[in-house]
């Protein structure tokens, strides 16, 4: 947390006495942080929240009581800066919380019902029943890769205990079994795990992620990139998306007010919008090729953001580009990032009728034509938090935008390469989705695969079950 970290730096490296202020909601986090770093910062707590409070309430916070001590906040601030540091203040239990206990690899034998309950009560699940990871099932899952079971796939850093945890191929296989995955899904799970990115990042905001799969493995494992690809219908999409959240949970990211802070959460976290790109029906090159992978390579790509909105009946009054700009108006425009998910019909229309030869061509058009009043842009708290410092540092165009009258129109998506375009859908109607998701990273699946790819699907609907 920046307040504690920056205060430590000022105290230790610059010799400046500080009075760090936090809302009381984060007192536990602060205590862990101070304990771990061994610096007895004099943190003062206000009631929670501060954001959105009018001036008179904030003034009451200052003249009122610190909920932790019942002493007046402003008096504590003054004391924090002037009361001499005592020896007593510098003693105490400073050892970091340790997770170095040796963990039992096998659980005690029990009944299916009791073990299901145990998994839930230990916080190892997403609340839904899981497939119990028996030795046999995990061994079967491990046939999905030629990597050794004890090979380390990733290291995860936990902020609250300030530790790195190692996760092996076997542990990813355990999670795969729990999610209902099959051995052929394991290479995708390993690729996702290798990024070290959680599906639900530690934040009070409703972060969400999208997991995109490109390349031949999409069809080999029967992923759906066609009709209803985002709907809960296809085994591979569902279990891979779910497995990522189960990984996240078992990486320790779901311990409330330790790593997990999302005030309202986000239902996208159940399946993480796990989908394949409909490369066969797309008018443009696949996303992974845009990222400089070979077309025949299988790749997972991760996008992170908060929200998406749908165009729900196509677009006949305005152009697709114009309607996309309308939908983008609901997004903050953070770091010029957006992700557009277009049905193949929309992509072909844009190419064949509107003349956009590539995804980047369309992104450039959006970049040039989406406009927002400067006041609306800077008035968004997320923009103020993340981008105002850039303006203050003189980074262009933000520094110039900051000086504009509020009604002046700016082009927040000034970097077309930040506008990602993915083609997904079953061509029943020319619709699309617009999201504030930013591209985070990608990882090759092939290094985790036991054999080369083969391809048979031609319409992106390989994963669909037969109609009844």
């Amino acid at each position: 947390m920046a307040v504690a970290t920056c205060s430590r730096t000022l105290e230790q490296e610059y010799g400046i006495p500080t009075a760090p202020v936090s809302t009381y909601e984060f007192s536990g986090f602060m205590r862990d942080d101070l304990k771990f770093h061994g610096i007895p910062l004099r943190v003062i707590y206000t009631p929670h929240p501060v954001v959105g409070m009018p001036p008179n309430i904030l003034r009451n916070y200052i003249e009122g009581k610190d909920p932790a001590t019942q002493r007046t906040v402003i008096e504590e601030v003054i004391e924090a800066l002037t009361k001499p540091v005592s020896e007593d203040e510098c003693t105490g239990d400073f050892a970091p919380v340790s997770r170095t206990d040796v963990r039992q690899t096998l659980l005690e034998l029990d009944s299916e019902d009791n073990l299901q309950r145990l998994f839930y009560e230990r916080g190892w699940t997403d609340g839904l029943p899981i497939t119990l990871p028996t030795e046999e099932r995990v061994a079967e899952m491990l046939t999905g890769t030629n990597r050794l079971a004890d090979e380390v796939v990733t290291e995860i850093f936990l902020h609250d205990t300030q530790e790195y945890l190692q996760f092996t191929v076997e542990m990813v296989a355990i999670i795969g079994v729990m999610a209902g995955a099959r051995p052929e899904h394991l290479p995708v799970l390993l690729a996702v795990a290798s990024t070290g990115l959680p599906s639900i990042p530690g934040s009070t905001t409703p972060f969400a992620c999208m997991l995109l799969v490109n390349g031949p493995i999409r069809n080999e494992i029967e992923m759906n990139s066609g009709i209803g690809a985002f709907s809960p219908r296809t085994l591979a999409n569902s279990v891979i998306g779910r497995a990522w959240t189960l990984l996240t949970i078992n990486w320790g990211y779901f311990r409330s007010k330790k790593q997990f802070w999302s005030s309202q959460g986000n239902p996208i976290g159940y399946g993480n919008m796990c989908v394949a790109e409909n490369e066969e029906r797309s008018a443009w090159e696949p996303f992974h090729v845009q990222q400089k992978f070979r077309a025949e390579e299988s790749v997972v790509s991760i996008f992170r953001g908060w929200s998406f909105v749908n165009n729900v009946v196509g677009s006949s009054t305005r152009s697709v580009g114009e309607d996309t700009c309308v939908l983008l108006g609901a997004m903050p425009g953070l770091f010029s990032s957006a992700t557009l998910i277009l049905d193949p019909l929309v992509a072909r229309h844009l190419k064949e009728n509107d003349g956009f030869e590539s995804k980047l061509d369309f992104a450039r058009w959006i970049s040039e034509n989406f406009k927002m009043p400067a006041g609306q842009f800077w008035g968004t708290d997320l923009i103020h938090m993340m981008m105002a410092p850039l303006a203050e540092q003189g980074v262009e165009p933000y520094a110039s935008w900051k000086k504009l009258p509020p009604e002046t129109l700016i082009k927040p998506y000034n970097n077309p390469e930040g506008i990602n375009i993915v083609v997904v859908g079953g061509e029943t109607s020319p619709m699309w989705k617009v999201s504030d998701f930013a591209y985070a990273t990608c990882a090759s699946v092939d290094k985790w695969r036991p054999k080369p790819a083969s391809d048979g699907c031609t319409d992106g609907t390989c994963g669909l079950p037969d109609d009844p």
């Binding site: 205060s7 610059y14 006495p17 200052i62 002037t82 105002a388 410092p389």
Partner: protein
């Protein structure tokens, strides 16, 4: 009566702890590291009010500044926004300015 599973079930949390992060440092005598020396008084001192960028922090510090102006006018307060990323301690310019021109800092608000 529930039937026992015949197969052992693996623990999904049986990961290995590799190491503690580099920040795990404590004083040489096993105590907390000490804070910077405190001021005798805030009177006639310059106190920087550093908005770390979280929502509402700036408005909170505006009120702190107003309080000092009203009740401790001899304290010179300087309102500044932390430079760099909101989540990182990547600031140098402002910290150098505080060392050069100020004597104390109030940072907030985490939350």
């Amino acid at each position: 009566m529930a039937t026992m599973l015949r197969s052992a079930v693996l623990n999904p949390e049986a990961y290995r702890t590799v190491r503690a992060a580099d920040g795990a440092k404590t004083g040489s005598n096993g105590s907390f590291r000490s804070l910077a020396p405190r001021l005798d008084t805030l009177s006639d001192k310059t106190v920087y009010l550093v908005d770390t960028g979280f929502g509402g922090s700036g408005k909170f510090l505006d009120q702190v500044q107003a309080w000092f102006a009203e009740y401790m006018p001899s304290v010179k307060t300087v309102r500044r926004r932390k430079t760099g990323n909101i989540f990182r301690d990547d600031t140098k310019d402002l910290w150098n300015e505080i060392r050069e021109k100020g004597q104390a800092a109030i940072l907030g608000v985490a939350g």
